[in-house]
Symmetry: C2
Subunit: 267 residues, 2 copies
């Protein structure tokens, strides 16, 4: 499908943006659906977000924007409206231009992660979960795991106070879930989640000690690129089932497409 002058536009804003998978996924879906639309990466530094955002909202053929780090929380005060998941997470990953012209954000990192787990055959309801990493995406994933029915959620983070603050917020919203802070020791959990950036760069430390993993555990990583992180390789070697960042990415992308009124994409 060639892009014409009448194309509708979608974009992902990030820094770094070079590693994102979104453009290929969305443009493939547009081609399959026969839509005259394009999805492009926009490389925007944190300090430039307000001016860039004001400019982007003047593009009348821009219908939606996906946000990745470091913009997910910073964009919130620039928006006109927030959906319920975004209000809970205090962050957004998808923004749409509504028919009334308002820019409305919603957060699908958590629901997309859970959708990815389920698509890979792992139902989180009833599981005991350890999540390492409680910033950005981690906040959304913790709420989504509790909403999906994990019986216990252990939260770990190297930043002082961050795991505790998230544990309190999740426990308040989901009283039926046992939420606590923990060391990043995976032994005994049915589900182990890496929600840190560890694994993006070669030579990164592993988020959990692989010698403490054992067969039958599910180890899920949020890192989109490389798809097979060192953590997942070590987990597979230890006999665990592994779920890559691609599963989360595709779960997020399908939810974002529906939110943007493109419900038939990648369904």
């Amino acid at each position: 499908m060639p892009i014409t002058g009448a194309a509708r536009l979608f974009a992902i804003l990030g820094d770094p943006v070079g590693v994102v998978r979104s453009p290929a996924w969305w443009n493939d879906r547009f081609a399959e659906a026969g839509l005259d639309a394009a999805f492009v990466p926009l490389d925007v530094a944190a300090a430039d977000l307000p001016a860039a955002w004001r400019g982007l909202t003047r593009l009348r053929n821009l219908d939606g924007v996906v946000l990745t780090m470091p913009h997910k929380q910073a964009v919130v005060p620039l928006l006109d409206a927030l959906g319920p998941l975004a209000r809970l997470a205090g962050a957004v990953n998808t923004v749409r231009r509504r028919a009334d012209g308002a820019w409305e954000g919603e957060m699908f990192d958590g629901e997309g992660f859970v959708a990815g787990l389920r698509a890979e055959g792992h139902e989180p309801a009833g599981m005991r979960a350890l999540q390492v990493g409680c910033g950005g995406a981690g906040r959304a994933i913790a709420f989504a795991l509790a909403r999906a029915g994990v019986t216990e959620l252990a939260l770990s983070d190297t930043a002082p106070g961050r795991a505790g603050a998230l544990a309190e917020a999740v426990a308040a919203a989901f009283p039926g879930c046992r939420v606590a802070t923990a060391l990043p020791d995976p032994a005994g959990y049915g589900l182990v989640v890496n929600a840190t950036p560890l694994g993006l760069r070669p030579g990164d430390a592993l988020a959990v000690e692989p010698g403490r993993l054992s067969p039958g555990q599910v180890v899920a990583d949020v890192i989109p690129t490389p798809e097979r992180t060192a953590l997942l390789d070590a987990a597979a070697a230890a006999g665990c089932d592994t779920v890559t960042g691609r599963a989360m990415f595709e779960g997020q992308a399908r939810l974002a497409a529906a939110f943007l009124g493109l419900a038939d994409l990648g369904g």
Copy 2:
């Protein structure tokens, strides 16, 4: 070629932007050259240009912008530098981000029109030319025709004073060319140019009276879409050679690509 997260971006800004041919031409060239790059249309109203421009300059992977109506003159005060053709025309159609970060504009409407004439086998040097329409693109085309060596340039416009002002400016810059204002009567000219918007919409009046055309004249139109305007059909029926807006478009696009450092595109 799929667009990746590391793609370089180029765009055309206009209102209306739906009629432009640029995205298909540029994206075809990128695909031929194997470049990870995308060219997208941006629909920006005249009043929104300053805010949109400030935002676009924050996109670190945006390397160049093509401008079409109504932005060619309005963007000038927003730029850091102008090339020589842009200074003469008081307008730009292409802007690049230089290595030093400055945004520099240049104007290829006139040179692109002349390149298109030559590509179709019509050398303007030595010809007597009538040009109808002295706004935006018309200003640049008049200077380019004089620079290319037409011996006489007759300028016509319905806006009071506009043809006269342009005639004075062109005569001052090119003393060897006979420049004057004229009625839009094509009889006797070797080259007849429509540089008005007439022909963009069905039912538009013709820029010149076709009954006054005769075999052997060259009639050139700047209208990009539809490619065959009513004027060109009438001129062909009268035995004239015709040059469509596509020739001008391709001439402009090749010059813009070279200015943007993409010299191998469409060469």
